[in-house]
């Protein structure tokens, strides 16, 4: 008998809608990444290996493009923590992807300083050019479009981050061109951070 008369015991059991990460292919670090991991883990006290979970996940993501259940298992085993501990972290931070993403992940900053300088229109142009909405990846797997919160480049608004590199002062008029340039020249098409630009200019 159920405690609740309307809940037929055993018939309509509540099923969790929680989605686990893709199992993905078998995952182990490449020897290079394993060597990097071994250096990183030395930065923390020996009994605090868990501290290395963010750098360890970055290594996994750079190796495979996104985080899978197998990658989580590998990281958990190396750090001596549970898979749930690692999954807890993966699901919290926005920079870890649990689904495959495009070769170029275009993150458009949408927060105040960028927004009042035209970020909404930049996104609008990119949506038109790529034919996908924010959060989606195009059919060829080349581009993923995302809207993100403040990147900390408010003086060069609107700013976008493509993978780990920045592109600053992206006007709505230039947004479609950036997509073409990325296709043609890869990350070289990005302006980078203006401090780097000024540095290059100073060096001639």
């Amino acid at each position: 008998m159920s405690f609740h008369p309307k809940m037929a015991y055993g018939a309509t059991f509540h099923k969790s809608s929680r989605q686990l990460e893709d199992e993905g292919p078998v995952f182990v670090y490449t020897p290079e990444n394993r060597a990097r991991f071994d250096v990183i883990v030395q930065r923390y006290p020996p009994e605090q290996r868990r501290s290395a979970v963010l750098p360890a996940l970055y290594l996994a993501q750079y190796q495979q493009g996104y985080i899978t259940a197998n990658a989580i298992r590998h990281v958990a085993e190396l750090l001596g923590i549970t898979r749930a501990d690692v999954e807890d972290v993966v699901s919290y931070y926005t920079m870890f992807y649990t689904r495959p993403v495009g070769k170029f992940v275009i993150n458009v900053c949408r927060t105040l300083s960028c927004a009042i300088n035209g970020a909404e229109r930049v996104t609008e142009e990119l949506v038109g050019k790529l034919g996908i909405k924010p959060g989606e990846t195009d059919a060829s797997g080349t581009f993923t479009l995302m809207e993100v919160e403040c990147l900390g480049a408010c003086d060069r608004a609107p700013a976008v981050m493509v993978n780990d590199a920045w592109h600053e002062c992206l006007t709505p008029e230039n947004a479609a061109k950036l997509v073409d340039d990325l296709r043609a020249r890869g990350e070289d098409a990005l302006s980078g951070c203006h401090h780097v630009i000024e540095q290059k200019r100073a060096e001639g």
Binding site: Y58, V89, T111, S113, I116, G118, E124, A153
Partner: protein, 432 residues
């Protein structure tokens, strides 16, 4: 007397980030001088200088270091380089163009509180900054400015960079420590404060990048010089981030004698042609706005607080007459709703409710009773959370309601946004 920059004097020079350049301009002399004094002398010096934390709260750094429990080993310095308050981009400049200043500040901080390790927690989006910083750290190790027995004094110091992965909440000091320990960036209950129970449960001083960068000049040039740079209790150099509707946005260094009007008009070139200034956010998105008649306020911690706002991270966002204030609140609440860490119910649920109410007013579907509802929900979030996020999140709502209630009312009466700016999308992507 013209103000001579202290922190950013050389940032526009090529190679300003290299160790050789830094050494040619007096680099690591402060560390050498500091190691000749006792740790207590350094804390006394920083206290006498009146250095106040540059991350947002303006808490006296000397006092923070004094509170660190000296009976427990090991102790840690954790540098907060998460810099995620909307409108803030000053630490980015310091770390990328003057990384050795931060490293020297970390080392002196470690010496002062008796720590051997400093972690620099940098936000995930600053990958290019991490590269520069790690190279600078490697160079400092190679020449003996970090590592074992620095300057033959017997003092050991290690500095490591720890990269976050996209979480505004990691800028809150206890959430940052949780993140550094490999967990979700969610705040801890306080007290105990990090000075007693910090990272790994050990005494920890959490200091902002700009704060630590102030320390070397205090050691070399003295507390009196430092305090004399600005108004009383607001001494030293200060970095201001001016962005938004100005001609020349950027990072500007000044003493805290400077006024908001000077920063906006003289440093940042003023608002664009044909536009008038509508409002100013003086310290990042979490602080109340100031109106055009308050521009002559001195941009110091105390003067801005007296004017009804906060200096915060000195992120000055300038808004001109094209800005719809309902839209502004909606934009910022989208940010806070997204960034709420979810630990405290009032904040997690309240930011979502506020955002939904603002969205419907902005779309023209609001009712007059929604304005009371906004105030009521805000009142049930502020002060009812573990960290200051709750108070920060409701500020854009309360401050726009206070100064621009008529804009909310006209949205509701006319059933549409009454100030659709030219820089907004015709058909905003409604994916949220």
């Amino acid at each position: 007397m013209a103000y001579e920059p202290v922190l950013t004097k050389y940032v526009r020079e090529p190679n300003s980030f290299t160790l050789d350049f830094y050494l040619q301009h007096g680099g690591y002399e402060a560390l050498k001088a500091a190691l000749g004094k006792t740790p207590d002398d350094i804390i006394a010096l920083v206290t006498a200088a009146g250095l106040r934390g540059r991350g947002g709260a303006g808490f006296p750094t000397g006092m923070k270091w004094k509170f660190v429990d000296k009976k427990v080993e090991p102790r840690y310095i954790v540098c907060n380089a998460d810099e995620s308050e909307p409108g803030t981009f000053k630490d980015h400049l310091l770390m990328e163009r003057n990384p050795h200043l931060l490293i020297e500040g970390c080392a002196i901080g470690c010496y002062a509180i008796g720590a051997k390790v400093a972690y620099i927690y940098i936000r995930g989006e600053f990958f290019h900054v991490q590269t520069v910083l790690e190279r600078a750290i490697d160079d400092a190790y190679a020449r003996g400015y970090l590592g074992k027995n620095i300057f033959g004094s017997g003092f050991d110091c290690d500095v490591y960079v720890h990269r976050g992965a996209g979480a505004y909440e990691a800028g809150e000091e206890t959430a940052l420590l949780e993140s550094l320990e490999g967990k979700r960036a969610q705040p801890r209950n306080k007290p105990p404060f990090p000075a007693l129970v910090g990272v790994y449960g050990k005494p920890t001083a959490v200091n902002n990048v700009e704060t630590l960068c102030n320390v070397p000049s205090i050691v070399t040039r003295g507390a009196e010089w430092y305090a004399g740079l600005g108004p009383e209790k607001n001494g030293g150099p200060k970095l201001y981030c001016v962005s938004g509707h100005v001609k020349r946005p950027g990072v500007f260094e000044a003493s805290m004698n400077v006024t908001l009007r000077e920063l906006i008009n003289d440093y940042a070139g003023g608002v664009r042609e044909g536009r008038t200034l509508k409002a100013v956010i003086p310290g990042g998105s979490s602080v109340p706005i100031l109106m055009p008649d308050q521009l002559d306020t001195q941009a110091s911690f105390d003067a801005i607080q007296k004017a009804g706002s906060l200096l915060g991270s000195a992120a000055i966002v300038v808004l001109d007459d094209t800005t719809c204030m309902v839209w502004l609140a909606e934009n910022l609440l989208h940010f806070y709703r997204h960034e709420s860490c979810g630990k405290c119910t009032p904040c997690r649920e309240g930011t979502d409710w506020l955002h939904k109410i603002l969205q419907r007013i902005e779309r023209g579907e609001g009712q007059m009773k929604d304005l009371d509802l906004l105030a009521s929900v805000s009142g049930n979030v502020a002060g009812k959370t573990l960290c200051a996020f709750g108070d920060a999140a409701v500020t854009p709502v309360l401050t726009t309601l206070k100064h621009f209630r008529h804009e909310y009312e006209s949205h509701i009466k006319e059933g549409r946004c009454t100030l659709p700016a030219p820089w907004r999308a015709q058909h905003p992507v409604g994916a949220h």
